[in-house]
């Protein structure tokens, strides 16, 4: 049942309407007109921001009417943004490292745990699994204050590694659940055949099982990447040096005018830089995104 829901949920519909639409009855015209108007409303803020980020300095602080650059496309806003603080590329690299680190750590931890929960009768299994899922009930926003002290004790305050560890913990319940389900769908016979061939333990997991649960791994990694690329509150609390800032924190500082008067062109450029990777990843990996969404919710 749940797989059919998952399949039907692809945002791209696979069903073909048979008869070529020669006639355009009123209800069909109305349907498309409504849909297009709503689509314009939903896409407009994103498109306007991307277009406006290419306006010249004189235009950048004026209302986006029209949103496209009247005086020709320039990357001046990006250059001005890069001149603020330690430079936007530096902070984008911080964000990327945190996002990549979180994805790798989450995939590693969740794959091991998912395999363990799916295949072995370990002592206290139900309790351990319940504990990991229970972390979902207690949002990390309510744990920020003690986390702050714990990071100081571990010498990880103001460090990207501390951020990665926290983000991975936040992503853990969803990811472990997802990976356990992924391993549950792999037939036991495959494992047994591999055992007869002499593979065992981690080598069995790496060479035989991992390729079979790749879709689950992609979903888990994708969600971890998007979450940590966009996370704001923990980054704001735990990072205090300018050269450690991730993109959301840098852009908040730019937008609040702490570098002098607010440069809206730089804000448009920074928001564009933050949005583009998310949109590209989503468009390329839509299938895995929706799979993760339904796995996390429907079951």
């Amino acid at each position: 049942m749940s797989t059919t829901i998952g399949q039907r949920l692809h945002l791209r519909t696979t069903a073909r309407v048979q008869a070529a639409p020669r006639r355009w009855p009123l209800h069909r015209v109305l349907f498309h007109v409504t849909c297009v108007i709503v689509a314009v409303l939903f896409l407009a803020p994103i498109v306007i921001t991307v277009l406006a980020s290419f306006r010249a300095a004189g235009e950048a602080g004026t209302p986006p009417l029209p949103p496209w650059p009247v005086q020709g496309f320039t990357s001046a806003s990006y250059a001005r943004l890069d001149a603020l603080g330690t430079g936007v590329l530096h902070d984008a690299a911080n964000s990327f490292m945190v996002a990549l680190g979180t994805s790798v750590l989450t995939v590693f931890v969740a794959t091991l745990a998912g395999y363990g929960f799916s295949r072995f009768r370990m002592p206290g299994k139900a309790m351990i699994f319940g504990l990991i899922l229970a972390t979902m009930m207690i949002p990390f926003q309510s744990l920020l204050t003690p986390l702050f002290l714990i990071l100081i004790k571990l010498g990880l305050q103001n460090s990207l590694i501390g951020l990665v560890l926290i983000y991975a913990t936040v992503q853990l319940p969803f990811s472990v659940f997802m990976m356990r389900n992924a391993f549950d769908t792999v037939p036991k016979e495959i494992e047994e055949a591999a055992r007869l061939d002499g593979l065992d333990g981690l080598r069995l997991l790496l060479h035989v099982m991992t390729p079979l649960v790749m879709p689950g791994i992609v979903s888990v990694g994708l969600f971890a990447f998007l979450y940590s690329w966009n996370e704001f509150l923990a980054a704001l609390v735990f990072l205090s040096d300018q050269d450690k800032y991730t993109l959301p924190v840098l852009m908040m500082v730019v937008q609040s005018g702490r570098f002098g008067s607010i440069d809206w062109g730089a804000v448009q450029a920074g928001v564009t830089l933050m949005m583009i990777p998310c949109i590209l990843l989503f468009l390329c990996l839509q299938r895995y995104y929706i799979r993760g969404l339904t796995a996390g919710s429907v079951k």
């Binding site: 009930m137 016979e189 509150l233």
Partner: protein
């Protein structure tokens, strides 16, 4: 076949089910370590800290329940909490209506529908911080779009700063959140709508049920589970709102849009009253758990009522 194979395997010692019991714990060790250090430890520490006066520099001092006593008289916190509840109610109603409407609009497979779904979903994948920064620009009175547009369309005389007064600032954020999240709830509700077998509608049509009756007696009961899920996610997420109010409004005007998490953030990391911040966190957590429990109880599956 499988049983036979298993038996043979266990005879030659290839199924290590018994022997592996303890060793298999190694697989979940990394996960347990993360949960222990970054979840259980802070959880316990939060309770301990809340019983102290805990400055950033200097020794913490045991003060018993004095922090909790102070919370009782902390008007700022209760104002922030009631604002958070108000925001949650408004945004939940808005998102449920928008999500349901979008889901009904693009539920059936037709040409072009894939593009529409993608367009409505796109704001979900950009982060809350990006969406808030983008909105703070669009709502800016001088450089933004909305006040200029309202002026051109004749809704306002001259430029009006929508972020300067409480009412318009509040609705501006609500509209932003609906724009950003409606697609997410569309997908959840759509999954419910699509799992209803078409036969049910055909049977109802044969029984001469009209559109409203079909919606009331087939659609409504059968999308109950996804709608319940959407409600739980929406309420528990909105109670933790921070990014949009910090970035777009900075809690203003006159601290009227301060949320609960924002208040705790200020106490802990602006005033560095860490013990008091921990006590506030305990109170917020207790409230959140009560809300979750109440929702699960209200929305539990009641087979007898179906």
């Amino acid at each position: 076949m499988n049983v036979l194979l298993n038996r043979r395997l266990s005879r030659i010692g290839l199924t290590h089910v018994r022997r592996r019991d303890w060793a298999s714990l190694l697989y979940v060790m990394p996960a347990l370590a993360l949960v222990g250090v970054f979840f259980l430890a802070p959880l316990g520490m939060m309770g301990w800290m809340s019983l102290h006066r805990w400055p950033l520099i200097g020794r913490p001092r045991w003060i018993g329940f004095a922090n909790y006593h102070a919370i009782w008289f902390d008007v700022g916190f209760w104002n922030a909490l009631s604002f958070t509840v108000l925001y949650t109610v408004a945004v939940t109603i808005g998102l449920m209506i928008a999500g349901f409407a979008l889901a009904l609009l693009v539920e059936k497979p037709r040409p072009g529908v894939g593009f529409y779904r993608m367009a409505y979903f796109l704001p979900v994948v950009i982060g809350f911080a990006s969406a808030s920064l983008l909105w703070s620009w669009l709502s800016n009175v001088d450089a933004g779009l909305f006040s200029r547009l309202a002026q051109l369309l004749g809704f306002t005389q001259g430029r009006v700063n929508f972020l300067a007064s409480y009412g318009t600032a509040f609705w501006s954020v609500i509209i932003m959140v609906i724009w950003k999240l409606a697609g997410f709830y569309m997908v959840i509700i759509m999954s419910g709508l699509q799992s209803i077998p078409a036969d049910y509608y055909e049977a109802a049509r044969i029984d001469r049920a009209n559109v409203l009756q079909r919606f009331r007696f087939i659609t409504m009961p059968l999308v109950r589970r996804p709608v319940a899920l959407a409600l739980i996610l929406c309420i528990s997420g909105s109670m933790l709102a921070f990014d949009q109010f910090y970035i777009i409004l900075a809690g203003g005007p006159q601290n009227q849009t301060m949320t609960a998490v924002y208040w705790i953030f200020n106490q802990s990391f602006v005033s560095f009253r860490l013990g008091y911040g921990a006590a506030l966190s305990v109170v917020l957590l207790a409230i959140l758990l009560v809300i979750s429990a109440a929702q699960l109880w209200l929305l539990r599956d009641r087979e007898d009522l179906r």
